[in-house]
Symmetry: none
Subunit: 196 residues, 4 copies
DNA sequence: CATGAATGAGCGTTCATTCAT
DNA sequence: GATGAATGAACGCTCATTCAT
């Protein structure tokens, strides 16, 4: 018989790759990078260990891929062009987007949060210049926003970062601990605090 | 030479144990749990690998011991008698104590923060009934405090927990990123926000 | 289009087989057997990995085939009829043929030389009765040649074998280390030494 | 009980290291580097795989050690000081020493011969400057010797190298194929050819 | 109490080989 | 005839843990 067409092969690859990424993401989120073995990922994906290396060069490159996917999703969270200023409206949307994303992309956030605490992997995260640039720019824009609208901008920005980070941690680590209504009113409070 | 007395033996044991814990804590904080080997700990402590197993059952139990020590220290941070209420003064002290502790016990916090994301390790905290009780009681008392002094107590308590957690994370992971004056004025702001 | 005839199919097979052998030979010679993967051979030949197994049972059998091809070429180097004696002229031609062959069939010699040290592979040469016979006969004829023309035939034959083997090794492993003129005069010296 | 004394530990290490080297040498000589696994070495030595890494950093470093040992043994073969000239007497001893060494250190020679044919491992062999220097110096001295005593020094030196190399190969690969008397008379012939 | 040689299970990774298409 | 996704055994290597001394 004839071999599969190139399109068929591509489709197989696309699906299998997604399957591997999903399995790895879930395990990385649940147990962390070092405690998750390639064996375990393969088992979860229902494939052989060897096949993973048909799709990814190494365990590390699999992680990098997951992180990059997440970054490319998230860079659009703050809907601002490269050199544009952040408006109050954008800030509101940004807050909402983060809170929403914490639910819809829970596993990604778990992985990212975990790794921001691990020096070796954090370095890996910043190994790409583009990633560093994206984050530096975002920081700069947020900085400008607070400088423009608040009396004590540094203090306020630290408050902003702290409360967002802390809330994220709480929501990630104890999901369901707070009722939706509370989350909702908290979100409104954040708007009152930081949207100008 | 006369043989050592039982007390001397005990003293030696206590000191060796402390030495091992210190070495492990420093390495866990610096490089993480998985990237720190028993060999490395022994080297840092200037003893043999085997001796560590004379004091601890396993690498994990060494970690657990470190975390439990820290928890028992921290639960006394808020020095309130069993059924006493938290006063505004106590709350102020609590905030200060936490911020101070983040500096003086940085390594402990680093280890704890990293492992709070690991479900199995997180459960270790609650393995002792007494720890569970202490934490539950603390939670209850803080809850009462906010109920008594704030219009939206749940919202306020979530704000309290978020900002403390987030600030802790920032201070731990990016030490030196914020100047002392800013930290100081931020602390005062926390007092204004949460001390009644 | 009309379906291919049986002859056409055979021709395709023959060409593909030759393509695979050529690719493998080049890689085996360049990087060695163990460091050359089937993947690499397929890539060099511009075909799929699977197709190689349509022509050869295994990587090893591909190697064996290469070696056997070469042996069957080489046993005809000394073109002496079955029971004929080796003449001085033939010996001269033999020496020249070997030296020429080291250049024209360099890759074959490289592979053969490397594997002559591997006992299991070395035995492959002798797996075919006909090969064993040919070699035995050749040995016998050379033996006769030296017995007839030299005072110390065994010593002389060992000298012959040694110098040819050693020169081959040097030329194969350090190509270009000796200028052509030197090689040429060395060849003449070999003639003076061994041609009677 | 008290632990072993440092001397006891050193003795254990020395013996175990020798055991590992012996086992590895034998297998490398018999089957080659790539076809010999750490597992196999451990099995032959009657120890666990892990223990090998208590003594050697890697499989490669084990090989390097073997090669270096051999070099340090052999650099004294040609009994000449750094800048001294090679005398006829020394050349005679050199020839004898090589032929003797081929028997007494057969496995070393097998390993070395094998690896001179394998580019990746040959490079490893020359990775140490001292090794390169030693060999370069030897080559230089032999070169001088032939220039001084022979009419066609390059041709003669190529003859010398070829016959020694070829004889070595023959003796290594087909031990016992030639009777001792023949080897002995061949040795005398080498003396007549190259000792001046 | 103290040592470090020794173990062995498990890791990430490679690659010859198979087989559905 | 031809493809390449998929397998699985084996590799080199690490390291928590054990134990004779």
């Amino acid at each position: 018989m004839s071999p599969r067409t190139k399109e068929q092969y591509k489709a197989i690859r696309r699906e299998k790759e997604a399957l591997i990424i999903d399995s790895a993401l879930e395990l990385f989120a649940e147990k962390g990078y070092h405690t998750t073995s390639i064996s375990h990922i393969a088992q979860k994906a229902g494939i052989s260990k060897g096949l993973i290396y048909n799709y990814f060069d190494s365990k590390e490159s699999l992680l990098v891929r997951i992180l990059q996917d997440f970054i490319s999703i998230n860079t659009s969270l703050l809907n601002v062009g490269s050199r544009q200023e952040i408006t109050g409206e954008n800030m509101g949307k940004y807050i909402d987007a983060i809170l929403d994303s914490l639910e819809t992309r829970r596993n990604y956030w778990l992985v990212l949060t975990r790794f921001s605490m691990q020096k070796d992997i954090a370095n890996l995260f910043f190994s790409h210049q583009s990633t560093r640039d994206t984050i530096a720019q975002l920081f700069h824009q947020v900085n400008n926003y607070f400088s423009k609208h608040f009396e004590h901008p540094h203090e306020e920005m630290l408050m902003f970062r702290s409360v967002i980070k802390g809330l994220a941690l709480i929501l990630l680590l104890t999901p369901g601990a707070y009722p939706p209504e509370l989350i909702h009113s908290f979100r409104e409070r954040l708007h009152r605090m930081f949207v100008r």
